[in-house]
């Protein structure tokens, strides 16, 4: 079964797009190196700001006939074919394919509101082409909107990127609770909270260390910790230059942290287990 990783957190600026894009590229590269028969990865950008689209494809002027918006608005019968038609190749890697976001997605939420089956408008067509990919990575917008729900319904693994300053147990539990609500409410037994990725970690700040230690010792959340990405200038510069962190500076501490994180996900893909 193809794993669908969704990066979600209703807080903005926690590194969802950066993590989603670098993870998608990392999985493709790592699977190829491991000699996997299929190393294609699809990145789906559901955020109308289209940051993930811009950095991975070099453009963000996707519109009514070549983006996720097109897929959501297509006839149910033609949606899968439309999805295939809208997928573009990333400039980062030939095995990284992108379903671009569009500013039109903002309006799509309003247009789809009240239409029967609207939350499944991504999951349905995606399920028909899913086997073509070794993994799918979905970037979401910083809110639990219809678009984010669509991403979660289509996913198998929710990953919560979080900054140390938001690491309070209560806050994290609320995100996880929301994901569980979607799992139960929409009857998606395959969806699970698969991990927490701590981003922008600064070990020189005492509060960060304290909150991370607290997380590690927590009975539930501690088991979910999948990686800690240090605060690193390379990450911001890479994003600014529309490059992956691995491309921009493969020796940077953030690159190594992302590589370790990706390694854990690839292990799951390979074993097909939890």
């Amino acid at each position: 079964m193809t794993r669908v990783f969704v990066f979600t957190n209703h807080k903005g600026g926690v590194g969802k797009s950066t993590s989603a894009t670098n993870t998608a590229l990392g999985i493709a590269g790592m699977l190829r190196r491991a000699g996997a028969p299929n190393s294609r990865v699809l990145l789906i950008d559901t955020d109308s700001q289209a940051h993930a689209t811009l950095v991975t494809t070099g453009k963000k002027d996707y519109g009514t006939d070549d983006s996720l918006y097109t897929v959501l608005m297509a006839d149910r019968q033609n949606a899968a074919q439309t999805l295939l038609n809208c997928i573009v190749q990333s400039t980062w890697d030939t095995d990284l394919h992108v379903l671009p976001a569009s500013p039109m997605l903002e309006g799509a939420e309003r247009e789809l509101m009240g239409i029967a089956g609207a939350p499944y408008r991504l999951a349905d067509p995606l399920s028909r082409i899913i086997n073509r990919y070794a993994a799918i990575v979905i970037d979401t917008r910083p809110s639990f909107s219809l678009m984010t729900e669509m991403g979660l319904i289509a996913a198998t693994d929710a990953i919560v990127p979080v900054e140390p300053r938001y690491l309070e147990t209560v806050g994290l539990m609320s995100v996880i609770g929301k994901i569980n609500d979607i799992r139960e409410g929409w009857r998606q037994p395959n969806l699970r909270v698969s991990g927490i990725l701590v981003t922008k970690m600064n070990t020189r700040i005492r509060g960060h260390n304290h909150l991370l230690d607290e997380l590690k010792t927590h009975s539930v959340l501690g088991k979910l910790l999948l990686g800690v990405v240090p605060a690193n200038e390379a990450v911001s510069y890479a994003h600014q230059n529309h490059q992956s962190i691995f491309n921009y500076d493969s020796k940077a501490s953030a690159s190594k942290a992302y590589a370790q994180f990706v390694g854990k996900l690839v292990q799951r893909i390979a074993k097909g287990g939890a």
């Binding site: 990392g26 590269g29 790592m30 699977l31 190196r33 491991a34 000699g35 996997a36 028969p37 019968q77 899968a80 074919q81 295939l84 997928i87 573009v88 190749q89 400039t91 980062w92 890697d93 030939t94 394919h97 028909r128 082409i129 086997n131 073509r132 490059q243 992956s244 691995f246 491309n247 493969s250 020796k251 690159s255 190594k256 590589a259 370790q260 990706v262 390694g263 854990k264 690839v266 292990q267 390979a270 074993k271």
Partner: protein
Amino acid sequence: MPPKNQTQRIDELLGGVTEELLLGNPQQFEDNSIRVERLLLEMVRPDPVQPRRVLPEQLHFAFHSNRLTPTQALKELVQLVQVAARQRGRPFNNVLELLPNPDDESDEDQSVHLSPEEQLLYDLVNLAITIRDDGQVNPLTVVDVSQGVTQQFRIETGERRYWATWLLRDFIAGYNSDGMIPCIIIPIERSSVFRQAKENTARSGLSAIAMARQAALLVLTVHGYEIPSHAVSNDFYRQSLELDLRGKREYTEAVLSAMGGIDKGRFRQYKSLLQLSDEALEIADRHAIDEFRLRPVLQLPYDVQTEMVQQIIQFNLTGRQVQEICERGLREDDNEHTETSSPQVKRFVKSMKAINSNDEEDFVRGLISEEKTATMARARIDTTIEFLMRVKSRLTGE
């Protein structure tokens, strides 16, 4: 794309982690086995050079040059059949009307002769109904030919099931499908013309023309010709007429076994059918005329081959009848242009050319044995000399 040195650095970084994670279990990704998956119908395409064609030639080319979508191609086919059916006095509006009415017992003993197009659509509708009622039991065999973001699978076997599924989806009301079709996916490196040929010949109903195309594909492959991924004209297959298996002994066995275990002679006979004109080829393929009945047609000039093939269909001629008609036709044709001599004269003239002085003894013995006595033999020579002298004097006059 990232510059090469950058790619190397990424590879080093990811490679380190990869080795770590695969430690102790390096084979876990090496899965090149044949898979069975449900694929989106739109991702699957028939093979344009598949010798066994389902659609009539005109639609085949229009579809493979992307001038028609699958739905449009089927719509054209239905219209084509509607015209043919109307001409035969059995018009229909809905494809389901092609199927016999189970409640109507009066039709039981009536056997209706369907045109090839009617038969094709009838078979497709029947297949579609079976799929609707029982599901797709046999998956298609497809080859993964995806490139970049273009995800595509080329059908190796099961083109009829592909068209039946489209028919079911777009022409049979009340059917709700998820638009997927079960397929056995063969990795591209395992696909070959030989494999396809074996799959084709293992099934019955491959027309002689399809066998000819199949033979041509195999010959062209062993001679290193690249098999195109678009629809090709008969001239592409005809290139094989100048080639044979003589220079490719190492492949002979594989080629003949892929053709269903036929011998070299039969292989040549099939391949020779490509000498037929385009129109004759198309009609013969559509009506699945066997090789034995087509073989004599090859002697005929290009411009009359189609007519002969049409006569085979119209009068349901046997192979021997076709041979006789063709030979007679050729003889009459020759008579029209040149006044030919009688067979005995032809034989005598030919033997005059062949005989030389060394045959003298032999000639004497033969003559005496034929005429019984030396006197009779001498008399025969005298009359022959007289005859030859008369001929000579005529030649002088001419």
